[in-house]
Subunit: 352 residues, 4 copies
Amino acid sequence: MIYLTSDYTSGAHPDIMERLVATNMEHSAGYGLDSYTLEAQRLVREVCGAPDAEVIFLVGGTQTNATAIDGILRHHEGVLAADSGHIAVHEAGAIEASGHKVLTLPHHDGKVVAEDVERYVTTFYADATHEHMVAPGMLYISQPTEYGTIYTRGELEALSEVCHRHSIPMYIDGARMAYALQAEGADFTLRDIARTADAFYIGGTKCGTLFGEALVVTRPHLVKALFSLVKQHGALLAKGRLLGVQFATLLSDGRYESIGRHAVRLAMKIREAMREAGYEAVVPSPTNQQFFELPNEVIDKLHKVAAFDYWGPRGTTCSTVRFVTSWATTEEDIATFIRAIRCAHEFADGDC
Amino acid sequence: MIYLTSDYTSGAHPDIMERLVATNMEHSAGYGLDSYTLEAQRLVREVCGAPDAEVIFLVGGTQTNATAIDGILRHHEGVLAADSGHIAVHEAGAIEASGHKVLTLPHHDGKVVAEDVERYVTTFYADATHEHMVAPGMLYISQPTEYGTIYTRGELEALSEVCHRHSIPMYIDGARMAYALQAEGADFTLRDIARTADAFYIGGTKCGTLFGEALVVTRPHLVKALFSLVKQHGALLAKGRLLGVQFATLLSDGRYESIGRHAVRLAMKIREAMREAGYEAVVPSPTNQQFFELPNEVIDKLHKVAAFDYWGPRGTTCSTVRFVTSWATTEEDIATFIRAIRCAHEFADGDC
Amino acid sequence: MIYLTSDYTSGAHPDIMERLVATNMEHSAGYGLDSYTLEAQRLVREVCGAPDAEVIFLVGGTQTNATAIDGILRHHEGVLAADSGHIAVHEAGAIEASGHKVLTLPHHDGKVVAEDVERYVTTFYADATHEHMVAPGMLYISQPTEYGTIYTRGELEALSEVCHRHSIPMYIDGARMAYALQAEGADFTLRDIARTADAFYIGGTKCGTLFGEALVVTRPHLVKALFSLVKQHGALLAKGRLLGVQFATLLSDGRYESIGRHAVRLAMKIREAMREAGYEAVVPSPTNQQFFELPNEVIDKLHKVAAFDYWGPRGTTCSTVRFVTSWATTEEDIATFIRAIRCAHEFADGDC
Amino acid sequence: MIYLTSDYTSGAHPDIMERLVATNMEHSAGYGLDSYTLEAQRLVREVCGAPDAEVIFLVGGTQTNATAIDGILRHHEGVLAADSGHIAVHEAGAIEASGHKVLTLPHHDGKVVAEDVERYVTTFYADATHEHMVAPGMLYISQPTEYGTIYTRGELEALSEVCHRHSIPMYIDGARMAYALQAEGADFTLRDIARTADAFYIGGTKCGTLFGEALVVTRPHLVKALFSLVKQHGALLAKGRLLGVQFATLLSDGRYESIGRHAVRLAMKIREAMREAGYEAVVPSPTNQQFFELPNEVIDKLHKVAAFDYWGPRGTTCSTVRFVTSWATTEEDIATFIRAIRCAHEFADGDC
């Protein structure tokens, strides 16, 4: 069986696992006060071109978002996000549980546009009753988005500009950052991310580690007492060096790049095969997540060789599905899957 | 250097690391919906003699406590705990951050006594203004306590009895449960824990895993929507099977027992050597944490061979220190350390 | 100057003020444990035909909503509401501050329709990832709505039916309930409110009292420890009898009815005069709030005789405005205002 | 029956009631944007000698404390308070409900001493694990305390000095401030309060108004978006002018002084009569609350002429009780009560 359900179905990239094994019997200080974590922090600052950034490693994405957003916002403020954003939909109310409203903007293929932020903020402050409403206190975006699409450098700069003009910090959820960086047409680097955002995280869990996210705060004093806040959110790993070892490995020797590149390349092969079979992607994603609307009979056939997720019906005969690649997806997996696409299409009676 | 600072200074027990490596390239469902997690849940229920218990695995202790306590309490209730309890002191306000007050009771070598619970509850409801106060909604205890001491089966039963008579669920923080179970004079089993408590967790992080705690809810319907609550608290691991693999290994082949036994045996050797050198333990701990009050010059000498934690001054010439053993502590470590104790004592000028 | 800005611009209805003065020097128990409050609670149960309902008086609407919703929901649940609902827009994030998400439904002239609730709930539970999302835990509606519209008895029953079929309590914000009850075409009574809702409040602040809302919980055990929860939310009035005296007066001798009737009748006069002048109401409100889109020059002229609120521009030459009547609006006020409408219209150059 | 149960058993001081009646039919802007509130704000600034202070009026004490403390603290911080403090005991967990821990200090007749604050803060930061603990982020004291005692000007200055040396804002709960200002031996004024505290409130509810507290923030920018925060806490009164009218009256023509003076003078008469009868006050309170330990048979006799609160048993034959005076207590009340004290004592068999 081929696994295209998600990019977190297997363990860690073999190089990372090897380092965990090699260092397993060592003793070190807990809570990220060890030398591996120091090295990983240095590497993060280096790849981001942000020598003064505060860097802390957390276990998972939801806790990273909740901690960072709680740390950035004042009590009366909420966080602007696309209505398709992970914090708005799939974090079980973690943001609200720490007291803050998610203020939604309409998404455009998963993305927020600068004009909508501008309009929201100016309309808000023009409203005579705005002190009775939740003030927009920061912007949350995902790069890539939950739909696999990416912001261009120009779009990041436009969002950053409008945010900073209104004194609103900009935060980027980079759960799948490796794939955005290696996407077709990606014209930005981690330095652009660090330059346009005030805080962001570089995802590990979905990009090759067993778990772990690197939270980077580039604006000085943006979050007070970050360490304590991480602890309060239950997000401080006792054996913190596990995060240090993993990120030191992930971010060295071009590994983050090769992991991203590999997965994107295989995803593009799926997209090309689908196109040849007559199926256009539902969303123009240049990253490792691909969404298609397929006849149910085609889906049934594909499910015989591959596991992948169902994203809801489209009428009575078609459905939307998602295919996700990762470092663990093999060339052979994709070759087999493409053969299946061709054959499934061959026998299909109808279209969507 | 010998490490006696804590039981989470190294990685995972080799058997556990081996299983993680062996299963690393497999694909599985996320969020704990995999077969390893199912097996681990089955094992937990078996060792606890609680076939109907709800079992879920979380990453760390603070998040487990915060999630469970938040799930058990209603908004107007607080949690009773020893004033030395982890949730009262060392969780950075995680319980309060989810809206609940920690109601403290005086500790007795780290323990809560049933009479104090009884008195608190009856005094509370006898107070005409109690509706203006925070109602005691559950009891939190640690087994072993933060001071290494343990509750006997009789003490657990007495606490359970007073709690249930007042309709207050009893919750046990078992971060170091392995060491309590193998303590000198321990007269209880996990079945007694499961029988007297309404919810508890079996600690992994401090007992041999890379990370992970097994939360067990034995009282039906005590916590509603536990899975969503774990997610909301940012405590749901994407690659949930990592917890399943680790706990399935930890709880089979007598590993949890042997890890606990090994660490306790070595801790007793330290205690015995200290006693011979004339130093009595500050707290009568029969587990892997040992606290001593030593002359500062002895401490300085011991620090040349071993790392361990300083717990504060006692007058001007002495201090309290803590020594902790684990599965990773070796016989040789302890032999070396005991020689150091003897020599340091030999040259010491004074007593405490 | 005529005041049509809101229904809370003056003090209390003279009968209520008189009772406050008459009882001012008496002594009584605090926190609502006095005889006036007992009498008011009895009256509330009587007019609602709910002899077993729990009744408690709070000071204002936002605190009543926040307390009731916090008391009804479990931690993992959110509250369904129209996207125009007061809790969704104008309570400064009070619901989120107590940890709960407001789940919005599209409004229809301010109203939620049963079909949308049904679709939301069924779609939610059909989603394989729903445990990662915020569960719909209750429904919030306003009667009348923020736009002055009302739910018919049939609509209330349809909403109640869908809610109860899905085990979701239904809560009604009755800040302006007096005006709904006396609206043209209103086919429901407080008994229907009490029968279809599980909890609701009868508004005082906007219906004749100095302040105060009567929270009624008809479903047994829906909210645990309501008194303590009210205290925790800072919503417990020390001199609780002030609420008792006011509500005992408000709900006796047909006062709630006559206050509502008076205000609605005058609002209808405004609507009729507007219609004659060629201006249709923006929303078909049969209650004391009337919304119109008027040429800015007409608005300027009307502002010379009356204070009223501006609700935002419509293009460059027109704007939406709101006129609100209350027990304190006089026949003479309305006669003057209607003359102003006629004259302003007479001289207006354009239309909207 | 004479009422000595509390200072909030009757309505408003007649002068205040008169002003509420006189202004009842006027129309004004809501939410404190009216001219009466402006005048009251001006008066508060004037009596406090704080021309730049931010002043906002709220309805009750618990909501004022919760709002101010929530506004002052960052998420990782807690509030230092006496373990007898109102926020620590009698606010149903309102502080914790907004996410903050109350860090208790031992009380000395209800008071916090500067040395304890100094010790707490220095011990806290000396602890190597302090980042895992809740940081002391502000100090809460009550003037007068819950036991009726008062801080001298020197004590306020000492507390202020230690707080500011450690960058910890100092907040004063002045629910009964009028009585502290007029206490025997009081050597401070509202100007001293405003000068030593960073924020505080001047109580109305217990000092003559129907309800209401004046929150004063003297340190610039201490609380961000105060108005929105008040709204979020459900503490914004729609008919805000009711607070303005009451405080404008309370703080003019020497009313706050005379109300305090009257109540204190009568309380001193009770104390003197008790002393003559051989009963010393349990706490040396120079304000309107007096605590005594009396034989139960004396208490029973006194209860025949006066209502007052029982504060718990002392052994089997005695109990502690509290007598409270207010503007509404009459000379005649006290004369009657003193006669009762003398007679009850006359027939008493035993002592305490």
